[in-house]
């Protein structure tokens, strides 16, 4: 018995010794060394988080700074604790990737005034007035629009080949929630498609989850059975691309290429590249500059990117057309939410108050129509999308989420 006890005690001592070697505080904010802490909702198995994780590693390794990745942090007090732990361990930038992290990151930002807190997809930085709390997003609607152009060209090809009539050019879209980010995404995608194929219409279904492979697959199948001839998505699993491959329906995906699961039907995918933003934050802290309160990455900054086109499905000439449209967007010649290209309830939109300053009553507070366009993610507003108009030509099949 004694022997057993001594063995146990010996083990315990070795363990505590090991504990000491692993510990050790990281660099302090004041000594010029930069250390970045990242908080992710899930791990690399989610396409959404993987996109952030890859960018985090790339940006930090390029800048040669130390970094810590914390995965599987829920949208609750755990996020606050994780942010505080990162700050305690000497991080001078703390980043979180999920919308629901925002409030908890703000709580941490109030406490650690010397640490910069950056949050993707959040909406509150411009109203919180905390100098060390920042939001970031990207004008991904431009990427969606371009992906939509590729989709429109595919529809045109199908019409030209006699596979469908112009009236049958119906797109299906699998969305997560009736959230502004999703609405902005599917609307810009649809406008891109309709700029090429004027008879295009769209049906949207919602799954009530950002990641639910079964629901996304079932949603896509439902749309296909409804007569949709092309599918796109704003949800994070391979559900919709798989359903498309099984039914031989062309597919435009999101967050990265899905060609591996849908080689015959994959057209293109748009995604946000977070490396430019991360690099900007690291450089700002290194050089003592301010990180912008709201940062909207664009095509120019390299934040909005398209994947390579699929090998089989895309229509001929898509690559050249995309280059052309991209140039028009960059020069400002083509506006995504040009009010002359869509109507709401049969009438053009001349004025709209969007809910830019988040409040529980969803009250509109900013006029966002000017110069003949809806100003999405613009300077002076906020980086996260707020386009939530229900434009004509798009039918929502369900709105329970």
């Amino acid at each position: 018995m004694k022997k057993l006890l001594s063995v146990f005690l010996a083990c315990l001592m070795v363990l505590s010794l090991a504990a000491c070697t692993v510990g050790g505080k990281g660099g302090n904010a004041s000594n010029g060394k930069v250390k970045v802490g990242f908080i992710f909702l899930h791990d690399e198995n989610s396409t959404y988080d993987l996109n952030f994780i890859n960018a985090a590693k790339e940006a930090c390794e390029k800048a040669g700074v130390e970094y810590v990745l914390k995965t599987n942090i829920p949208e609750g007090q755990e996020c606050y604790e994780a942010a505080c732990e990162l700050a305690d361990s000497g991080c001078n930038i703390v980043f979180a990737d999920s919308f629901g992290h925002e409030d908890y990151l703000i709580e941490a930002a109030k406490e650690y005034k010397n640490v910069e807190f950056c949050h993707a997809t959040g909406t509150k930085a411009h109203t919180e007035n905390l100098p060390n709390y920042h939001n970031a997003f990207a004008s991904i609607y431009e990427g969606r629009y371009l992906a939509g152009v590729a989709a429109g060209m595919k529809l045109n090809e199908m019409i030209a080949n006699g596979e469908i009539t112009p009236e049958q050019a119906k797109i299906g879209y699998v969305g997560a929630y009736t959230y502004a980010e999703v609405i902005s995404g599917y609307t810009s995608f649809f406008l891109g498609a309709r700029s090429e194929c004027p008879t295009a219409t769209m049906e949207v279904t919602f799954t009530g989850s950002w990641y639910d492979e079964t629901a996304e697959k079932e949603g896509a199948v439902k749309l296909i059975n409804n007569g949709c001839v092309l599918i796109s998505q704003h949800a994070d699993s391979m559900g919709a691309p798989t359903a498309c491959e099984n039914n031989n329906i062309p597919d435009v995906s999101y967050n990265g290429s899905t060609e591996s699961v849908a080689p015959n039907t994959f057209i293109i995918s748009s995604r946000i590249n977070w490396v430019p933003y991360f690099s900007l934050c690291i450089d700002s802290v290194k050089n003592g500059n301010k990180i912008p309160t709201d940062y909207t990455g664009t095509i120019e900054t390299g934040s909005v990117v398209l994947t390579d086109l699929g090998k089989i499905a895309p229509a001929e000439g898509t690559a050249a057309k995309l280059e052309e449209v991209k140039k028009e967007i960059q020069s400002g010649q083509r506006k995504i939410f040009d009010t002359s290209t869509f109507t709401v309830g049969g009438a053009p939109v001349t004025s709209y108050m969007a809910d830019v300053d988040t409040d529980p009553a969803y009250e509109g507070d900013h006029e966002v129509i000017s110069n003949g366009a809806f100003n999405e993610s613009s300077d002076g507003f906020r980086s996260a999308p707020y386009f939530d108009l229900r434009i004509d030509g798009i039918t929502l099949l369900d709105e329970s989420y």
Binding site: L4, F8, V14, L17, T71, P74, I106, Y179, D359, S400
Partner: protein, 362 residues
């Protein structure tokens, strides 16, 4: 020639003295650590001692980490204590998850609808009452069915969990900000209305104190009160209880009210004291983990302090491993699984011993 005796057979042990049974448990942990070490080295090439060090680091690495570990432990302990009287009565309440969730939902409802409209003291009082009441009702429904019609409580308590989850999902959509985000966010972030008070300026102390008080009360209730005695008699045999004139229906219902009510209290702490929001996953499955905590402790409230500590220690350590070594959380889960397997498995060797074939026997 005589028929061969089997190589070994299993014999029930007499009750072991405490130091022997704890010795076996310690040996199990050591054996588990060795197996974990071998698996770590084979699969990842890391030094297992560094990985173990990380485990300890995760739970105790800084003052804040110690507090968080104790806070998480307190919540798990309260839920485990809540389930215990039901288990002692052989009423398999696996609806802890749902009972905590409705308690959490009731708390959030009060904070959202009454925040800033009434004085904070009154609001917290209403929150407390409604959380406990909601949890009790969630426990009461299966209890009535069991008491009156002898339905299977394992199924009914389990099914009540799903109803609770869907209710929370429904109200999340009602209260979401901004629209469509499926996120309620921190409730009353600017006014702190309905936030449970901090004890001595510490965010973490309140659940710890409540857990301690609950542990002591539950220990006394089960061991020394008439109710506690009745619970154990019903647990041993319902027929005996009826024979000696106990009203078993009343005891079942009363015990489940207590069980559900305590779960509701845990929900109150989760929303009012810790997270200040409501989500379907706010309890992260602790209603189920608590079943294991309670069983491992053989329904003894004092032992439960250690078993809930063990589970939280492993959980916190697992998170630290995935951060420090860039391993997937699943790897830490494998290690946790191995350790739990040994700990649960060793209970067998405490109750039984293996006797080998004796040499020289005919």
């Amino acid at each position: 020639m005589n028929k061969k005796e089997p190589l070994f057979h299993i014999v029930k042990r007499d009750v072991l003295p405490w130091y022997k049974s704890w010795g076996i448990r310690a040996a199990a942990i050591v054996a588990a650590l060795i197996v974990c070490g071998i698996i770590t080295t084979i699969t990842t090439g890391l030094n297992p001692f560094k990985v173990y060090g990380s485990f300890i680091q995760g739970a105790f690495g800084s003052g804040r980490k110690v507090w968080i570990t104790m806070q998480n432990m307190s919540i798990l302990l309260i839920i485990s204590l809540a389930l215990t009287p039901a288990f002692k009565m052989r009423f398999w309440n696996i609806g802890g998850e749902g009972q905590v969730l409705v308690g959490a939902l009731a708390t959030a409802a009060c904070m959202i609808t009454l925040g800033d409209k009434i004085p904070n003291v009154l609001l917290i009082l209403i929150m407390t009452v409604s959380a406990i009441l909601a949890g009790s009702i969630w426990g009461l429904i299966p209890a009535i069915f069991k008491a009156k019609w002898n339905t299977n409580e394992t199924l009914s308590t389990l099914m009540m969990n799903y109803i609770a989850t869907q209710l929370v999902a429904f109200f999340t959509i009602v209260w979401e900000v901004p629209k469509g985000s499926f996120t309620v966010g921190i409730i009353n972030q600017s006014t702190n209305a309905g936030w449970l008070p901090q004890l001595f300026g510490s965010k973490y102390l309140l659940p710890i104190v409540i857990a301690l008080l609950t542990t002591i009360s539950m220990f006394i209730y089960l061991k020394y009160s008439k109710h506690g005695y009745e619970i154990s008699v019903v647990g041993e045999s319902e027929k005996t209880a009826k024979y000696v004139g106990m009203k078993t229906e009343k005891i079942i219902i009363r015990t489940m009210l207590l069980s559900g009510g305590l779960c509701g209290l845990a929900g109150l702490l989760l929303v009012g004291g810790i997270n200040h929001t409501i989500t379907t996953t706010i309890n992260s499955g602790q209603g189920f983990t608590a079943v294991m905590v309670s069983w491992l402790a053989k329904f003894n409230p004092i032992t439960m302090i250690f078993t809930s500590f063990l589970i939280i220690f492993l959980e916190r350590g697992a998170g630290e491993i995935s951060t420090n070594f860039g391993l997937n959380q699943s790897f830490a889960d494998i290690l946790t699984g191995i350790i739990l397997f040994f700990i649960i498995g060793c209970e067998f060797f405490i109750s039984y011993r293996i006797v080998g074939r004796k040499k020289g026997d005919k």
